[in-house]
Symmetry: C2
């Protein structure tokens, strides 16, 4: 069945426009129509002005330049500054705030020919207190957080691409819940100028899409480098370490089955698959991550604490902020030093395996809109600064998506993409459309 | 001779207010009077509203809380956001821009009872194209950059404290030229939310003051931790490594003599002093620093490149931006990996010495207002993420200040302060006033 315009991936949109088969305006209108129909049940958008989106599309159609994202509508998480749209950081404290310039990642998106469809819902300050977004398949369920709107919008085919961020599991988890590919880059690779700092030692952008190719394309755009198509030759079967982690008991059956099935499928396809138990120092990683992120987060909210403490949610006050203000500087620094040691330890782990296979989340999107699900399955890799990707390979209860997560060594993002494509192909996951 | 109010250090101001000997308003008025007299020749301030400063001082005098910086006027580099003052990043592109909230460091300053005197001049985007500031002792000379106004304002006793930033040598060099103590913290320690990102892998805040105690005090405030007085017991004489660096031939005679004299004085006071030659991999550090900083800087200026490329200086276009856009991602990443190796190598160096003694700059502030002096003597330590401090111990040509720089291992900032105080005491450098 031929996909509808709003279902196309970014790569397919760029090709279709280049071939004269469609226009940016047509794609944008198709996405807007789909949004109009679905938004009441999903609430993915914090700001959306259809006229502004169409105006951008028309300008792209009329222009002479053809960037690598030419004509593609993109959703931007609402902790990322945009000059022509409000940026509210998920809190009433900043309601109506309009930055005077674009964040670096937004400016790079526009330079590549992307158009900013609107701002996607985030949790409060990209932490745990939820925004208004509901899971597209079940309004009683969370879409995950903190990149809630970005993941729901891509999963529901409102846009082909969205930018999120990740400080714990804020890209991988919602992408998995919503049946998307989600990518957290090697820490430090993609610039964060104009992005609200949650915890600088851990923050990265996160990309959400419906194909590996789209993520590879968009990552080059945001790195500010020449785009380069993925190799047409599939990679050789990798050495895979199956890492169930210390949180394995928290996973539901579908997640357990997914990991075991994926490991078996990879092995059958020639991969050398073995179990991987992280060395004992990794047992403390959740606590280490919590110390670093809380300490930094609490200081970054100093202005809001000075002036608007009463408008901060109880969730945030009684958790992240309370912990962050209670840790001593020595406890914080010790955690940072321990994280650095764990990064070196993990580098060693990658001598014996090319890619780690591990859950993306504990299970399908849980019921309840007052929380956003457990981030434990990402905190390990986030603290270790490694690149990772969630792949939407399985279904769990109520036909809800289950992702599996691939992780590679720091600075090997392009290999991660190759392994992800190799793995997705084993499951016949189409890159266009979903 | 009793110091005038505007000559007091922050520590002395806090004590005098606590003892009822003066008020924040009296101190602020004294600073403002001195500024009124000197500003035409120095031009340290990008924004200064005397009424706003006095209003803050009156509120502090009338209030009941007594923070650790109670009543102290502070200058803030104009790449750091302030909610009640413009923030223009040293470029006409952002003329008149007023952020809607304070940067974390500004909010922490206010919470501690500091008052924001105004915004100090920065070079364009904290890079090399100079602002309007002139050296307080000689209007033909640069005050250094990029924290030009911060260093000139503190050196000229317009304020006791100022915040700068450092991505190459932007705090240490101007502090040395202006006869101040200047401190660059361990990378990552002090939050940068609300500070323009130049190159995130290298950026830190920088503190400029007229005593070691003031720097120790303000660093605790900006780390968001309980302030803790320095030990009343001087530290034991340290093991000192005298590092002349590969740039030694660039130094003037006064700088060479200063380092040799300081080494001899430390030795006479019981320090174990030896020559320190950095291992060969450090020969490449200037190039490594240049790759990282240029690559990141160029991407962080994407919005300005999209919309205002013609209003960027030729200096910036033909240097930092040109290089940054020319490097490949692989060259960038290789440089980042090399820098990480050098950090580990330098950790090893610190097994055999407690503190490195090295020049702060090539010499006194050079003549010529179209450049800001060489940052080579800081780029090594900046790339290595170590804490460092410049101490105003010597005078060179025309009675202009010469600093010496002390560097300690990452994460040993408090030891750095102890060594700095020990060293300054050998020279009878008073902490109040200059």
């Amino acid at each position: 069945m031929k996909p509808e315009l709003h279902e196309l991936t970014a790569t397919a949109i760029v090709a279709a426009i280049a071939n004269g088969k469609t226009s940016s305006e047509a794609v944008t209108r198709a996405c807007l129509e789909h949004i109009a129909q679905r938004e009441p049940q999903v609430q993915a958008w914090q700001f959306l002005d259809p006229d502004l989106a169409i105006k951008q599309a028309k300008a792209l159609d009329a222009g002479s330049s053809r960037g690598p994202l030419h004509g593609v509508p993109v959703g931007i998480k609402d902790i990322i500054d945009t000059a022509d749209m409000p940026t509210e950081y998920g809190t009433p404290i900043h309601a109506g705030h309009r930055p005077h310039m674009d964040a670096a990642c937004v400016a790079l998106t526009r330079r590549a020919g992307g158009l900013i469809m609107g701002k996607t819902v985030t949790t409060e300050f990209a932490n745990r207190h939820p925004g208004k977004t509901m899971h597209p398949q079940d309004a009683r369920r969370t879409p995950g957080g903190s990149s809630s709107g970005s993941a729901a919008a891509v999963g529901d085919c409102m846009v082909p691409l969205a930018v999120g961020t990740q400080t714990t599991g804020s890209t991988i988890r919602p992408a998995a819940y919503n049946g998307c590919f989600g990518y957290r880059p090697t820490w430090g690779d993609l610039r964060l100028a104009g992005v609200m700092e949650a915890a600088g030692s851990l923050d990265t952008l996160g990309l959400i899409a419906r194909s590996v190719e789209d993520i590879a394309l968009y990552r080059n755009v945001l790195a500010g480098i020449a785009t380069e198509a993925m190799s047409s030759v599939p990679c050789a079967p990798p050495r895979v370490g199956v890492c169930r982690t210390q949180f394995w008991d928290e996973t539901d059956d579908a997640t357990k089955q997914g990991i075991e099935s994926c490991a078996a499928t990879m092995s059958a396809a020639g991969a050398k698959v073995s179990d991987l138990q992280l060395p004992p120092p990794f047992d403390a990683i959740d606590e280490i991550h919590q110390r670093i992120s809380s300490f930094e987060f609490a200081r970054n909210r100093s202005w809001e604490l000075n002036h608007h403490a009463d408008r901060i949610s109880e969730t945030l006050r009684n958790n992240r902020l309370k912990h962050g203000l209670a840790y001593s500087f020595e406890e914080y620094r010790e955690a940072r030093a321990q994280a650095e040691q764990l990064r070196l330890l993990l580098d060693d782990v990658f001598r014996d395996c090319d890619v780690i296979l591990t859950p993306s989340a504990a299970g399908v999107a849980p019921i309840g809109l007052n929380a956003t699900g457990s981030a434990a399955f990402s905190s390990i890799w986030t603290a270790c600064h490694t690149p990772s990707m969630t792949l939407p390979l399985f279904k769990g209860a109520n036909n809800l998506p289950i992702g599996v997560q691939l992780v590679t060594r720091r600075d090997s993002d392009r290999r991660l993409f190759e392994f992800a494509r190799w793995t997705a192909a084993l499951y016949g996951v189409k890159t266009t459309p979903r």
